[in-house]
């Protein structure tokens, strides 16, 4: 679904990704792990087209996508939920959903969202920026439910959220996976994401340090080496 080959990218003279190869097979969930500053967010931004590559190619749904701007990639089925700011804060919840639906049937969109997150249904006329942190993240995640997205890139969805909310959000991610959509997930709760993921990539200083299945990386000790002793 998504293939990055030999991708180099960065900001000005600072090169963050230094030759990354990564594949998200169709219908699979891939976890992208790595320490702070490893380049996870940069990788997602490159995949979505928000940041250009200096070298290497990005292929989306079998076609070359390097020259496609973010909105083109979105129309080709890519949905990036950026960390911490996946919503239009000054707009109301209803207006947010209308934006997510991109001009299609907003009423049906609202139904889909409220079915997944009933609490949002009570707050349709409220400004999204005034929702609680958890509700904001629900709204952000609900974008993946709308539209015809085949590939969902999720960046740190659980940051700063209460455990109950994290459960709810990750449950939605699981639903998306079961619907056969491809996923690339960056997540701090390593254990939780390993339950969902089919494959794991570990990014270390801008390069892929490990590729494998969740079971392999539990045994091989890569966590200790690349993520510190926290995970395990």
């Amino acid at each position: 679904m998504l293939t990055l080959s030999g991708v180099r990218a960065g900001y000005g003279r600072l090169e963050v990704l230094r030759g990354v190869d990564l594949t998200v097979p169709e219908g699979c969930a891939v976890a992208l792990l790595g320490a702070n500053g490893a380049g996870k967010t940069t990788l997602l931004r490159v995949a979505a087209g928000l940041l250009g590559t200096t070298y290497g190619t990005v292929r989306l749904a079998g076609r070359e996508a390097d020259s496609a701007r973010p909105h083109r990639r979105a129309r080709r089925g890519l949905c990036l939920i950026p960390e911490g700011r996946g919503i239009f804060r000054p707009l109301t919840v209803r207006e947010n959903i209308a934006m997510f639906c991109a001009g299609r049937d907003t009423a049906a969109g609202i139904e889909t969202v409220t079915a997944a997150f009933p609490v949002l249904g009570e707050r349709l006329s409220q400004r999204a920026g005034t929702l609680s942190g958890g509700q904001q993240q629900m709204l952000a995640v609900s974008r993946a439910l709308l539209g015809d997205y085949q590939l969902i890139l999720a960046d740190e969805l659980s940051v700063g959220l209460a455990p109950v909310i994290v459960d709810e959000i990750l449950a939605t991610i699981d639903v998306l996976r079961r619907q056969g959509r491809s996923l690339l997930i960056v997540e701090q709760y390593v254990d939780r994401v390993l339950e969902i993921a089919d494959y794991v990539y570990i990014l270390h200083k801008g390069q892929i340090a490990f590729v494998g299945e969740p079971a392999q990386c539990r045994q091989s000790g890569v966590f200790e080496r690349y993520l510190g002793a926290v995970a395990g």
Binding site: P70, H71, A98, M99
Partner: protein, 635 residues
């Protein structure tokens, strides 16, 4: 009470036109983050085209073509061709680019159109209707009605249409708008088209009451700045209300000031007073840029800036010393003016190049310097002492301007200095405080320490000596702690404060120094020409100077020298080629738009190509392969 109603009607009409202009300004600013200083110039240009085309076709057709076709096309051009390249640049870059556009448009209008003030034929039926005991012209009713309808339509557009929703989404978060599959560039371009249309509409409606005059039209639409500041540059209803309020206040004040000659400038400068007042008096943090410059997306061209080498400096100085023997009469006057302008540009460069603060009132500093010099000379002070004192009088004025500089950044500081410059021109210049009763300052060149400065060569050397002193002062600032501090402040004010340094003193100091030098240079210019009136250096000069300096290079001393040469010496050399001078502002305007992002300007282009980037790249690869070889060797 009844006596006031006619003024309210006049004010409401003017306010409605301001509102149209201001709403267009706000729409483009909020969606693109670019505060378009050329908004008024766009309206002016469209107005000229409209009244010219009107002679050849029905009014409605000319209206449709200009407001709905030509102006939007121009807006799209500005957005997609001129400004998109600058994405992610710091605000001062956008200020310079749009000022360049203003100067270029103004210059083009002077070349293309017959800009002698002429009456614009009314577009609405003549006659009046009586409304609640007041005579209201049909045209006034039309204008108020059109502005109200446009305001409501704009509100409905943003609330009810999907494109309006998308526009608000771009304002909120441009990247996310892209991510949900909407083309944010297309939306931004649309808002520029919309803004441009509003500018054209306001200019066309305004022209019948003030006449077709390139400068006045540009300026009067620019008065919308005041209204936009009431709406915090972002809020449309507040902007509309603010515009009407300003219009009514200005009209009412005309009734009051007729009794006081000194206050004659109040009505016309009211919008700028509002602008300056709102910016300076609002609580800190009220005015924030809608688009944050993120270090990540900023594609700053980091070229090494090389100070003018000592050798080049000595050569230049030697040439300057030898010059009088080669020149005669008027040529020597031109040479003296060029030297004086080096100091003006150096003082502006201190702000623009070093601390990245845009000042749009440097001509005002120069004028106050020149007129103060005139007063002090007539009081009997020796020339050098009077010149120094004139500079010292203006320095506190610069410090006063620094107050907004402490609280405002980038765009808003530029706006505040702009407001100050215009208000000073309308209010101070007309009072006689500066220019005296006959609106003309006579500045003699008596002499100093027994040496007469009356001769052109003597005055040339005197000017050269003063300017060299001033430049040495600038270079000292550049290379010592204050200079480093200002560079650091330009880069990250928070960073500077976090290491325990209070930025107040350095910012006040640099503004005061810059104003001091500009005033001294103004005094030199005044003494050179020996007379100065209110139009010698009007505030528009401040804008032109900025574009010239940016074109030449704001960062280095070489840029200041080149700027003075381009601005003064080259045009006077070419005066014989007819019409050359007319094209000059167009050149500087366009060049400023193109070079806005390269702080080194033309001077920077003279540098040899930068091989260091390539070198580091190669070195890095070599290092990498070296590591690989080592690894393999170890294994």
């Amino acid at each position: 009470m009844k006596a006031y109603w006619p003024f309210v009607v006049v004010g409401l009409t003017a306010g409605s036109v301001y509102a149209l202009a201001a709403m267009g300004l706000v729409v483009t600013y909020t969606t693109s983050g670019v505060f378009n200083f050329a908004h008024g110039a766009t309206g002016m240009f469209a107005t000229f085209v409209f009244y010219q085309w009107r002679d050849a076709m029905p009014t409605w057709l000319a209206f449709v073509l200009v407001v709905l076709v030509l102006a939007p096309l121009f807006g799209a051009f500005v957005d997609s061709v001129l400004l998109r390249r600058l994405a992610g640049a710091p605000p001062s870059v956008y200020v310079v680019a749009s000022l360049g556009l203003l100067v270029a448009l103004q210059g083009t209008a002077l070349v293309v159109f017959d800009v002698r003030l002429r009456q614009a034929e009314p577009i609405f039926p003549q006659g009046t209707l009586r409304l609640a005991g007041v005579n209201v012209g049909y045209d006034q009713a039309w204008i108020v009605g059109i502005a109200a309808v446009a305001a409501v339509a704009l509100a409905l557009f943003f609330r009810r249409t999907h494109l309006g929703l998308q526009t608000r989404a771009v304002i909120a978060d441009g990247e996310l708008t892209e991510l949900v599959g909407a083309d944010s560039r297309r939306i931004t371009t649309f808002s520029w088209m919309l803004g441009s249309s509003f500018a054209a509409l306001s200019g066309i409606l305004l022209a019948p009451s003030i006449g077709l005059d390139a400068v006045i039209l540009t300026l009067l639409v620019v008065q919308a700045f005041g209204a936009a500041s009431v709406g915090r540059l972002t809020n449309l209803p507040l902007t509309y209300g603010g515009a009407l309020g300003i219009g009514i206040l200005a009209a009412l004040s005309t009734k009051f000031v007729t009794e006081y000659r000194g206050l004659a400038g109040v009505p016309s400068s009211l919008p700028f007073l509002v602008l300056f007042g709102v910016l300076v008096l609002s609580p800190k943090g009220t005015f924030r840029e809608v688009v944050e410059t993120s270090a990540r997306t900023a594609r700053r061209k980091e070229r090494r800036t090389r100070p003018l080498s000592a050798r080049a400096g000595v050569l230049l100085l030697a040439a300057a010393v030898a010059l009088p023997s080669l020149l005669t009469g008027s040529q020597l006057v031109t040479a003296t003016a060029t030297v004086a302008f080096v100091l003006i540009f150096a003082s502006l460069g201190l702000l623009v190049g070093l601390s990245r603060q845009v000042s749009l009132c440097h001509a005002t500093f120069a004028v106050i310097g020149a007129t103060t010099l005139a007063h002090l000379l007539s009081a009997g002070l020796p020339f050098p002492v009077a010149l120094l004192a004139a500079g010292l009088v203006v320095a506190p004025v610069g410090a006063l301007i620094a107050i907004p500089a402490l609280r405002l950044s980038g765009l808003f500081l530029a706006l505040a200095t702009f407001g100050f410059g215009v208000a000073a021109q309308y209010l101070l210049f007309s009072t006689g405080l500066l220019f005296g009763e006959d609106q003309r300052a006579i500045i003699g060149r008596p002499g100093a320490f027994g040496i007469s400065l009356r001769g052109d060569a003597a005055f040339y050397y005197f000017t050269l000596a003063v300017v060299v002193l001033g430049i040495v002062a600038v270079e000292v600032v550049r290379r010592t702690r204050l200079g480093r501090l200002l560079r650091a402040l330009a880069d990250s004010p928070d960073g500077v404060m976090s290491i325990g340094i209070n930025p107040t003193a350095s910012r006040v100091l640099v503004f005061a120094l810059s104003a001091f030098l500009a005033a001294v240079a103004g005094g030199l210019l005044g003494a050179l020409y020996q007379r100065f009136n209110t139009y010698t250096l009007d505030f528009f000069q401040s804008l032109v100077w900025l574009t010239v300096l940016v074109t030449a290079g704001a960062v280095s001393l070489g840029g200041s020298v080149l700027a003075a040469f381009l601005f003064v010496a080259v045009p006077s050399f070419f005066t014989r080629i007819s019409g050359f001078g007319d094209y000059e502002p167009i050149f500087f305007g366009v060049a400023a738009v193109l070079l806005a992002q390269a702080p080194d300007g033309l001077v920077g282009l003279l540098h040899p190509p930068d091989f260091s980037a390539l070198a580091t790249r190669v070195a890095w690869r070599r290092e990498e392969s070296w590591h690989r070889d080592r690894r393999e060797a170890v294994c």
